[in-house]
């Protein structure tokens, strides 16, 4: 069970015009702007639900994921995930969640993938039988068998991403946060990742929150969609709610963004 209530997060951003003279001016007087990344965001997600979290660039999707995964502390509001506040007692909290940041890497660059996995086994104190079981399962579903012995630097993006997802799931988390997990993947890898997420949700009842710009991800995976723009939730429903009257979801979404000036 995930509940977020009235969560606000503001970033202080220094800004100046381009060019030498404004750079010089900024030496003496810095101007800051406060950006409301999240402005009174509330939602509830029940166990085993799969939710697509969408919105234009800079809407606050990643900020939400970061708050939910305990990395960011909001200024206001409460957030409870399985009864715990993510940013309090981080180490105890993160044991039960799995996070994939599509734009970052968690695998050790210069060593085989397997070494990173073994490290995670120790970090999460996974006992050997269940580690083996999960690993076999993941290897099969994500097609990793030929990749595990390769150094991470020699993997392609899609191959690496499948390994990243496996790495985030080795400890069998109850909740999975996926921040753009299909970014830059080819069709085959994309389908593999989607199938995998779906199976995981059906078989283990894992709660999944997924951010993406790929509407096909959303259509293939989630029933419920939360749409965020400029830090506020604009819609909490199904993709059909937006889609009515449009041929493609992409167009529908673009029209929706335009009509809300986001």
């Amino acid at each position: 069970m995930i509940t977020m209530q009235h969560v606000c997060k503001t970033y202080k951003v220094s800004k100046r015009d381009a060019g030498f003279s404004s750079a010089f001016k900024a030496l003496f007087h810095k101007e800051y702007e406060y950006i409301h990344a999240l402005d009174d965001v509330s939602f509830t997600i029940s166990d085993g639900e799969m939710v697509g979290y969408i919105g234009p660039n800079g809407a606050g999707k990643s900020s939400t994921i970061k708050i939910l995964s305990g990395i960011l502390t909001p200024e206001q509001g409460t957030c409870l995930v399985n009864g715990m506040t993510p940013w309090k007692n981080r180490i105890a909290y993160v044991k039960n969640i799995g996070v994939v940041f599509g734009q970052r890497t968690q695998l050790w660059w210069d060593v085989p993938v397997m070494d990173s996995f073994e490290l995670l086994k120790e970090i999460y104190r996974i006992d050997t039988p269940s580690y083996r079981r999960t690993l076999t399962e993941l290897t099969e579903m994500l097609g990793l068998s030929s990749l595990l012995q390769m150094p991470v630097r020699q993997l392609s993006l899609g191959q690496r991403m499948r390994c990243e997802i496996a790495a985030s799931l080795l400890h069998d988390p109850e909740i999975l946060f996926l921040d753009e997990p299909t970014i830059g993947l080819d069709a085959v890898s994309k389908l593999a990742v989607r199938d995998f997420i779906k199976k995981r949700n059906q078989e283990k009842n894992t709660t999944v929150i997924l951010t993406t710009h790929d509407m096909q991800d959303i259509e293939a995976l989630t029933d419920r969609v939360i749409l965020i723009g400029k830090g506020s939730i604009l819609l909490d429903g199904t993709i059909e709610d937006i889609k009515t009257g449009f041929e493609s979801t992409e167009e529908a979404l673009a029209a929706f963004y335009r009509s809300h000036h986001i």
Binding site: K66, S69, I71, R104, Q106, L119, E122
Partner: protein, 267 residues
């Protein structure tokens, strides 16, 4: 504890795979050692009496320093740690049930040890056979050798704890370059990496001996060559232990502060 050991193991085995780097390191360190010893030879020829250490002891100091360079050089920090802070990959590390300080500390120790293990052997073996007074002398006594090993380890620990402070300040500035550069040159100078501390003038020397930098390579290298012994040696060892705790404490404090204010940008 086991998880940090796992970090140690992985970083250590990773360090062992860079063979070409180790080979070029060994060559560089030989060349550097020869140069330094020749320079000191010129000084000693002018007036050997003017120096607080014998030429033999100085040569041993230099060779031991070159052999264990990787344990003590502050500039050998882990770029991956700096990068993870500046590019935000730290996000992943924060999603793990690990303490950032302990994890990085284990990594730093492993990194330094793996480098030193690869590099020290050829240097020690060759220099011990160099003719006196240019080579590495045998340890003055067995107990001095044991103390050398102990203080070598303490010195490594102090160095790693100091580097942790630099990693931690990186959370508070956008670019680590400035802090890193200043810290590196200060440490080089005050730790006896450029010139052994006994060579410095009175007054300055006594103050420098109290600083944390003197608790790094200065103590083990001088114990080995027999320059540091008796009461003065025990003082130095106690100072090492003191700084070890003090630096670790400050580092952990900074860690706690950093965790409170960290913002992962972008993405």
């Amino acid at each position: 504890m086991r998880k940090y050991l796992a970090f140690f193991r992985l970083r250590f085995s990773m360090g062992l795979q860079y063979r070409a780097a180790a080979l070029s390191g060994v060559i560089t360190q030989f060349a550097w050692g020869v140069m330094e010893i020749l320079m000191f030879r010129a000084f000693y020829r002018a007036d050997a009496e003017a120096f607080p250490m014998t030429f033999q002891a100085t040569a041993s100091y230099v060779w031991m320093q070159q052999a264990f360079l990787a344990l003590f050089m502050v500039w050998m920090m882990e770029n991956e740690i700096f990068n993870s802070i500046t590019d935000g990959n730290i996000a992943y590390e924060l999603c793990r049930p690990v303490d950032i300080y302990n994890m990085w500390f284990a990594r730093s120790l492993a990194n330094r040890l793996s480098r030193a293990v690869l590099r020290c052997m050829p240097i020690l073996v060759v220099t011990i056979f160099l003719p006196a007074p240019y080579g590495l002398m045998r340890p003055v006594s067995f107990s001095a050798f044991l103390l050398f090993l102990l203080t070598l380890f303490l010195g490594l620990w102090v160095t790693a704890a100091f580097c942790m402070l630099i990693y931690m300040t990186c959370f508070f500035t956008i670019s680590p370059m400035g802090v890193r550069m200043v810290a590196t040159s200060v440490v080089e100078f005050f730790s006896g990496a450029v010139i052994p501390l006994p060579f410095f003038p009175d007054g300055f020397r006594q103050v420098a001996a109290l600083l944390p930098f003197a608790s790094m390579q200065n103590v083990p290298l001088r114990i080995y060559s027999g320059d540091l012994a008796g009461k003065e040696m025990w003082q130095a060892v106690s100072l090492q232990i003191f700084w070890l705790f003090a630096l670790t404490f400050i580092g952990k404090l900074l860690n706690t502060l950093a965790m409170k204010k960290v913002t992962v940008q972008g993405g």
